[in-house]
Symmetry: C2
Subunit: 360 residues, 2 copies
């Protein structure tokens, strides 16, 4: 029996407990692995939860138990999530996380710490919710040099834009609807101003290109300024407005950008609606690939965490070398060379800030 | 240095050699693995090829060399591809393949043989060309019970249907264009009558549900009878005709079907055009996922073979338990229960054989 500990018992944490418990037999049958949640670290008590007796309040209980081979961090926020992750690695435990803030800020340190000890630090759930993207991208990046990534990475903003498109409502009305449904938080700025999307494209670029660009560097435009007229004008010409994140390798460095774009109907990202995410990856060997699915939500995100747990558990003592990435602001370039403009996935449509002149 | 052998040096085999050679440094840097093609089994000689000196004509040279830890079978056809794969496993070598005919026919035996010896038999390239689908589906299936798969799995037929849709040409004209471009073979029946698609959905269903339905059982309709009028009628109402393969788990068994369907514009499969493939997977944890990319072609398919090679190589002596599947014709049900019809991905559109009555 393999013992794991969950850090945080909120939406994702309780989802992971649920997926592991309900699919325990299936997992055993398919992989031969028997996984048990030994501890749950949370400040609260959960007396009525079937796993309520696993709750502890002291990280040291987990760190000092040699039976625990893996810690799943789903606390959110930078601290103490980062500190506990580092301590877990230092205590010889593998770490998986759904925490994009920690990965985008401290990914390089945590990966290096894991590598030093023959452990792994995995973060499938930090981008694209339930979509398997980090693992396929990692695998692709080894034998299939990636040149470009382009995607819709935030469900909240995509829901708002879809509402505007579909029901002809204003940005403010669509945001209110998203908040009512729980898709947007009371303070929605991290989503609608593009920060969440920006962190995610930085993580994807790091996996693909081996360099983590600090997210503050990246030119990021959110959807606050998108008007119903923008959406309607795009629609009249067969486009749909999406918040698009891009990362390209150029001779001058990595070009990353987050901005609203009008996407052509014949591009697969056009059909990515509501809270779904879609990610296009261009590789020199594979050509264009797209990954699509629910970008958020309790179970999809929990499923991604579980897929990391299964990956590590299935490899036992033999964890493979993991690709490291360094944080390097100097490799960021804010300019896309003219020559690249035509050849790239940019031809999916036009930036909302720079519409073409349509014939009347 | 890890020594591998390629069986077959046609399109895919030479593509694998190319990907491994050109990305040798990248692979070493990213994974720490140094892979070398020691032998290439082919009846021909390739005196001008840089790897021409690796060509052998006798499988026993490969089987009796203890340095070879992995054999990549890309011969096509059932025999001797199956026989050599079995012999390689019996000689203690892992096997990866791009050969969907062998997997759809002999997958269960080869998987069992591999399992018996702590080896693996992988077949990422047998479905969806360069799209990573078998590995994500395998991983998903453990912690995320799959209920349904639905996809466009054959590039040739999708190219023909796209041509009809886009240029208003007849089936015969579109087929001729596909043949001219090398997308369709001189005898195109395996593609256009749906056999290729059928084998692929059987493999996907086996991975997802653990049971291989013999492909001869599956109700399969190709695109030979699709008329330009069908395509135009669908288009008038916002649909596009695609050859759709489906696999669903029902109380009565596995329902598999291959048939032309009109797909609604708001479904992500609608945008899958030309030689691209798209695969929708519905899981109880993940919700709907889609995988999209080039379904065929030298480099994409070779890339999928290489991803299997890297998977096995990265795990060294510690190959994990692989999910087996049995061939079981009795578990096939040709009938989809009424109650399931509304809830499934079938609501993506209508079967061409059974169009709705549209208002004029």
């Amino acid at each position: 029996m393999l013992q794991i500990a969950l850090l945080g018992f909120g939406t994702v944490g309780s989802g992971v407990a649920e997926v592991l418990t309900e699919n325990r037999d299936l997992i055993r049958e398919r992989t031969g692995l028997d996984l048990n949640v030994k501890y749950i670290l949370d400040l609260r008590q959960f007396p009525d939860h079937p796993l309520g007796d696993r709750v502890v309040h002291d990280i040291d209980v987990i760190l000092s138990d040699p039976e625990v081979f893996l810690v799943a961090e789903m606390m959110g926020g930078l601290h103490p999530a980062y500190d506990f992750s580092l301590a877990a690695l230092q205590a010889g435990k593998n770490v998986v996380t759904s925490n994009k803030a920690v990965v985008a800020e401290y990914g390089p340190e945590l990966l290096r710490e894991a590598e030093k000890r023959g452990l792994r630090y995995l973060f499938e759930a930090s981008v694209g919710g339930g979509i398997p993207i980090i693992r396929p991208l990692t695998e692709q990046a080894a034998g299939n040099p990636i040149t470009e990534i382009c995607g819709i990475l935030n469900g909240t903003t995509n829901y708002i834009l879809t509402e505007m498109f579909r029901h002809g409502v204003s940005f403010a009305e669509a945001l209110a609807a998203a908040q009512k449904l729980g898709y947007a938080e009371a303070d929605p700025s991290a989503d609608i101003d593009g920060l969440d999307t920006c962190r995610k494209i930085c993580i994807l670029a790091a996996v693909a290109f081996g360099v983590l660009i600090p997210y503050e560097k990246v030119d990021t435009v959110g959807i606050r300024q998108v008007t119903l007229e923008d959406v309607r004008e795009a629609e009249r010409h067969g486009y749909a407005v999406k918040l698009i994140a891009r990362a390209l390798k150029t001779d001058g460095g990595l070009y990353l950008k987050v901005e609203p774009m009008a996407v052509r109907r014949d591009n697969p990202l056009h059909a990515v609606e509501d809270v779904y995410n879609g990610i296009l990856v261009r590789g020199t060997v594979s050509g264009d690939l797209m990954f699509f699915g629910k970008g958020a939500g309790k179970l999809p995100t929990a499923g991604a965490v579980v897929s990391d747990i299964l990956d590590i558990a299935s490899r036992g003592e033999n964890q493979p070398k993991q690709q490291l990435f360094n944080k390097d602001a100097a490799l960021y370039t804010p300019v896309l060379p003219e020559a690249l403009k035509e050849q790239t996935l940019l031809d999916l449509g036009y930036p909302l800030s720079c519409p073409p002149v349509f014939e009347k």
